[in-house]
Amino acid sequence: MGRGYLVRKLLHALATLFFVVAFNFVLFRVMPGDPIELLTRSEKLTPDDVAELQAEYGLDQPLPAQFVNYLGDVLSVDMGVSLRTGLPVSTLISERVWPTFLLVGIGTVLATVFGVLIGIKGGWNRGSRFDTRSLYGSLLFYSIPEGWLGMLLLIVFAGTLGWFPAGGFDTGEETGFAAVIDIANHLFLPVLTLTLGYIGEYAIIMRSSLLDTVNEDYITTARAKGVPEHLVRRRHAVPNAFLPTFTLIFLSFGYVLGGAIVIEVVFSWPGLGQLTYDAINQLDYPVIQAIFLLTSALVIAFNLAADLTYGFLDPRVRHA
């Protein structure tokens, strides 16, 4: 891969990250309202308390100095202390990353695989009954709010049918392999919700990308030289149509993360979303701030990964 391409993309990601950090800093310090007031919205404070807190958080220093301190904290992964639990924010977050990773990871992979397959089948036989039905189905699932979809699935599969637990991460009573089964049992409905929530979008993207590809000259050439239809599809059309789809799926990561927050709340799944929800209700600003920083950093990392993989897969991009 061209070194220039790599360096350019890396610098771009770093610049974006810096922008996010600066935004996070500005938002909580320069916005209307005093940070101390924001930090302790529900408490009554004497002027002495305020001065003490300001000194503790370094808020008595000029803004540029505060920003430098803040950068130092961010670089050393010091996210401060949760106002409600008194625990370091980094500890709280590291406990919650794993469940969210499971949910978002499995859900995204399933949605991608099935969405892409549906998109290929529909797009290749455009106007067929399968195409029409899958297109309407995709539009329908695209239009359903994820949280509400989760609630519907809960009513049907956990309530009426009683097939799955109504929420949580595990029952906490199992060990060994049975514990894995237990977690999988709890994971099923949230993952199903996430998958259904994004499968339609991915199918539509793949379908239209394939429709763009079908009119390319190299497809006509392949057909003209007698390549069998299924090979035209597998070797010529799909790989080229998959490239833009791949990038868009990577780019939608931030959206999926947002959907996961609601799904976690509905299923009491103890991940970052649940943590965010609790932090909103308890006005725990250091936690909200840290989650914003972390998720933005994740999204930036994903974009970088998408850019680099894309450059690796498509020579035209890295030499552009």
Partner: protein
């Protein structure tokens, strides 16, 4: 033999020519749109919801929707008198949904308007005035907002701003303008180079004239199709934020109804009539906006017409 002179009519004014052309284009677009079944179905559904929203105060007795004056028994299952049952305050769910259509559609339309205005402004500035710095900085910001975990950003913003309908609109507008900005920028880049724009510039037209007479009219159709698609996303966003408890409890939108039934325990208690209908309303409206948006995209964006 040429006709004698008296048959010549007075030449129409420039304005009349422009309006005649616009009427013709609109008629042609309508003919194309009418052939799109999805688009028409969506348009009909949206008109029904629009009428319901406009005439909502005539359709429901608002005193029944105040927790203090609601007279129906609480949590009553659907019956002839209360077709969708009642909530925990004894408010009829059907009435809540009818009145809620005003809030949901209002938030959807105003937040979209805000997003479109920001997006068009950023897109035109980046594309038209371009230049190395303005364009790259604006594009970087646009790309950042586009991929950002918008729910988290919205949470951060609304926890700083506080909970009200206006803040929901502001927050959603701030997090939804980026795709419009991108579409507009690329359209502006291509329009800017066209011969008639060049001609106009050569004749001494200023920035304002070029942007308002040549760039904007060419960008508007795509912005419009984009806006209709954005409304669907905005309504979904409002639902998400409401379910997370960031909605305005004073302005009962469909999302707020879902949240209220969820936190009252409708899932475990089986009060399905309170939880399901607002979601169905959201799906109908979002799906319709999406279908109309796609149909418009096909009409206004000739490149797509073959699909």
């Amino acid at each position: 033999m040429p006709e004698p002179e008296q048959d010549l009519v007075v030449p129409p004014s420039a304005r009349a020519v422009v309006w005649a052309r616009r009427r013709r284009t609109a008629a042609a677009h309508w003919t194309t749109f009418r052939r799109n079944r999805q688009g028409i179905v969506g348009l009909v559904v949206l008109s029904v919801f629009g009428l319901i929203a406009i005439f909502a105060p005539l359709l429901v007795d608002e005193t029944q929707l105040e927790p203090a004056t609601a007279s129906a028994p609480p949590l009553h299952p659907p019956s002839l008198q209360y077709p969708l049952g009642t909530d925990n305050f004894g408010r009829p769910v059907l009435g809540l949904i009818v009145m809620g259509s005003r809030i949901s559609l209002m938030v959807g339309l105003t937040a979209t308007f805000g997003a479109i205005v920001i997006g068009a402004f950023v897109g035109i500035t980046a594309g038209y005035f371009g230049g190395r710095w303005i364009d790259s900085v604006l594009s970087a910001i646009t790309n950042w907002v586009l991929v950002l975990p918008w729910v988290v950003l919205a949470i951060v913003l609304s926890s700083v701003l506080g909970r009200s309908v206006l803040n929901i609109v502001v927050v959603i507008a701030i997090t939804s303008w980026a795709s419009t900005a991108r579409v507009v920028r690329s359209q502006v880049l291509s329009v800017r180079e066209r011969a008639y724009v060049e001609r106009s510039r050569a004749l001494g037209a200023g920035h304002w004239h070029l942007v308002s007479r040549h760039i904007l009219p060419n960008v508007m159709p795509i912005v419009f199709a984009n806006a209709v698609l954005t409304v669907a996303l905005v309504i979904l966003a409002e639902t998400t934020l409401s379910i997370l408890g960031l909605g305005d409890p004073q302005a009962v939108s469909w999302g707020v109804i879902i949240e209220e039934s969820f936190s009252a325990g409708a899932l475990t208690a089986g009060w399905w009539w309170w939880l399901i209908p607002p979601g169905v309303a959201i799906v109908f409206v979002t799906l319709s906006f999406t279908m109309v948006g796609y149909a418009l995209d096909e009409v206004l964006n000739p490149r797509l017409r073959r699909r």
